[in-house]
C-alpha cells in the first residue's frame, strides 16, 4: 500500500492508498493517519478487505498499543466494515463516529472498542499537540456525516466530498483541476442528495483556512485547487437520480 506523508511538524499526517493487491471490483479508498508522539488516530480505516494491508502499513509508524483512536466519517462499508477486526486488534481504542450510526455500526462488531458518539453539531478530538475539529457534513452523502479539520496543518479530511472515481494507480494529488473535474462529476451528482446540504457545508467550510482537502477516494486538492473545488461544487446541481 502506498504511504505518503502530507504534513510533518511536531506530528504527522500520512495517507495510505492505492493498494496494488486490492480486488478490482472494490472501490479504491484513501485512509489517513495522524501520528503524535504517543498516540495515533486512523481516519476512515477502510473495509474488511483492507484491514490487513492497512494495519501492516500502520505498523511502519506506530506500535499497536499506540493506535488509540479511530474515526469513521459515516457508516459505509468501505469506511469502516473492518471495525470487527480492529475490535480484536485494538481492544483499548476509541471509535469516534456519528451518534446516529451507533446501533448500525455495532453490527460490524464492536465489543471491546469504546464507541464515542459524535452529536449532530460536531465536536473535537484532542490528540495533545493538536485539537481536531469535527465538522458536520450531513447528507454529503450520508445522513450522519463528519469531516475532520486540523487547524494547525490546515488539512480538511473531507470524506466522500471531493471524491473521484478513477484507476487505482492514479497520482495522490490533483495536478490538473480542469481534467480532474470529469472524474468527480458523476460521483457528486449521484451520491450527494441535497443542494441545500451542499450549500450549507460550503458556507461553513469557506470560513476555514484550508491548505489541503483530502477526500476518501481519488486525489487530494492542494492550495488554489481547494478554492477551485469549492467553486465547482457550489455550481453543481446534485441529487441527480430524482430527475430520472
Amino acid at each position: 500500500m502506498k504511504r505518503t506523508t502530507l504534513f510533518d511538524a511536531g506530528y504527522q499526517w500520512i495517507v495510505f492508498g492505492r493498494d496494488p493487491n486490492k480486488a478490482e471490483n472494490l472501490i479504491d479508498t484513501n485512509q489517513y493517519m495522524i501520528r503524535t508522539a504517543n498516540r495515533c488516530l486512523l481516519l476512515d480505516p477502510g473495509g474488511t478487505e483492507l484491514f490487513a494491508p492497512m494495519l501492516a502499513a500502520a505498523l511502519h509508524y506506530a506500535p499497536v498499543e499506540e493506535i488509540t483512536d479511530l474515526f469513521a466519517s459515516h457508516q459505509d462499508p468501505d469506511i469502516i466494515s473492518s471495525l470487527g477486526l480492529w475490535d480484536q486488534a485494538l481492544p483499548q481504542a476509541r471509535l469516534h463516529a456519528p451518534a446516529i450510526w451507533e446501533g448500525f455500526l455495532r453490527h460490524f462488531g464492536c465489543e471491546k472498542i469504546e464507541y464515542v458518539p459524535i452529536e449532530d453539531a460536531g465536536g473535537t478530538i484532542d490528540l495533545g499537540p493538536v485539537e481536531l475539529e469535527l465538522i458536520p457534513a450531513h447528507y454529503l452523502h450520508s445522513s450522519g456525516n463528519f469531516n475532520v479539520y486540523d487547524p494547525k496543518s490546515k488539512i480538511l479530511m473531507s470524506g466522500d466530498i471531493g471524491a473521484a472515481l478513477e484507476s487505482p494507480d492514479a497520482p495522490m494529488f490533483v495536478e490538473d483541476f480542469s481534467a480532474h473535474v470529469e472524474k468527480m462529476r458523476f460521483f457528486h451528482q449521484r451520491w450527494m442528495p441535497s443542494n441545500r446540504a451542499k450549500n450549507d457545508w460550503i458556507k461553513r467550510v469557506r470560513k476555514l483556512d484550508i491548505e489541503m482537502l483530502a477526500p476518501q477516494h481519488g486525489r487530494i486538492f492542494k492550495g488554489d485547487d481547494v478554492e477551485r473545488f469549492l467553486d465547482w461544487f457550489e455550481a453543481l446541481s446534485v441529487g441527480s437520480a430524482v430527475q430520472v
Binding site: A52, A56, A57, L59, H60, P63, E65, G84, Q88, A89
Partner: protein, 204 residues
C-alpha cells in the same frame, strides 16, 4: 480454505435450523395439550365407560407440559450456541487476518507489537472452540432428552386406543384423541431426529 468456509456455513445453517424445527415441536406440544383437554372433557361425559381413560388424560397433559418446558430450554441453548458460532467465526477471521498482517509487515518497525495481541486472540479462540464443543454436546443431550416424551406419547396413544375400545358410544371421539396424540408424537420424533442428525453431520 474453501472447505473451512463451507463447514462454517453449515454450522450457521444447522444452528439456525434447530430453532425452526423446535418451533414446529412447540406447536405439536401445544396440540397435545389441547388433545388432553379435549380427552378430559370426553372422558368426563363418558363417565363410568371411560374410567380407564381419565388418568391417561392427566398423563397426556403432563407430557405436553414437559415437552414445552424442554423446548424452551433447548431454544435457549440453541440461541447461546448461535452466539458462540458468530463469535468464533469473528475470532477465526481476525486470527486469519493477523497472520496476513504478520506476513505483510515483516519490514515494519513496529511489527512485533502485534505478537502479544495475536497470541491473546489465539488463546481466546481456543476457549471459544472449547465452549462451542461443550454447547453442542449439551444441546445433543437435551435433544435426546426430548425424545423420551416423544416415545412416551406413542405408548400413551396405544393405551388410549385400548381404553377407548371400552367407551361405547364415545369410542370414536376417544380414538380421535388417541390418533392426534400419536400423530403429534410422530411429528415431534421426526423433527427432533432431524435436528440430531444434522448436528451429527456437522464437522465439529
Amino acid at each position: 480454505m474453501k472447505a473451512h468456509i463451507e463447514r462454517k456455513k453449515s454450522q450457521f445453517v444447522v444452528v439456525a435450523s434447530i430453532a425452526t424445527e423446535l418451533s414446529d415441536v412447540m406447536v405439536v406440544a401445544k396440540e397435545i395439550s389441547l388433545a388432553a383437554a379435549n380427552a378430559k372433557a370426553i372422558a368426563y361425559r363418558a363417565g363410568e365407560k371411560a374410567r380407564g381413560f381419565q388418568p391417561i388424560t392427566d398423563f397426556i397433559n403432563e407430557l405436553a407440559r414437559e415437552t414445552i418446558e424442554l423446548v424452551n430450554q433447548i431454544n435457549e441453548q440453541a440461541s447461546a450456541l448461535y452466539e458462540t458460532t458468530v463469535k468464533e467465526y469473528r475470532y477465526e477471521q481476525a486470527n486469519k487476518q493477523f497472520k496476513t498482517v504478520s506476513a505483510l509487515s515483516c519490514e515494519a518497525v513496529y511489527k512485533d507489537s502485534l505478537v502479544p495481541i495475536a497470541a491473546q486472540l489465539e488463546e481466546e479462540l481456543e476457549e471459544m472452540r472449547y465452549q462451542f464443543k461443550n454447547q453442542v454436546d449439551q444441546l445433543l443431550d437435551q435433544l435426546s432428552e426430548i425424545m423420551h416424551p416423544a416415545r412416551a406419547a406413542r405408548v400413551i396413544a396405544a393405551n388410549s386406543r385400548i381404553e377407548a375400545s371400552q367407551a361405547g358410544e364415545f369410542l370414536q371421539s376417544l380414538l380421535t384423541v388417541a390418533e392426534s396424540v400419536d400423530k403429534a408424537a410422530e411429528l415431534m420424533y421426526t423433527n427432533v431426529q432431524r435436528c440430531r442428525s444434522s448436528m451429527a453431520m456437522m464437522e465439529l
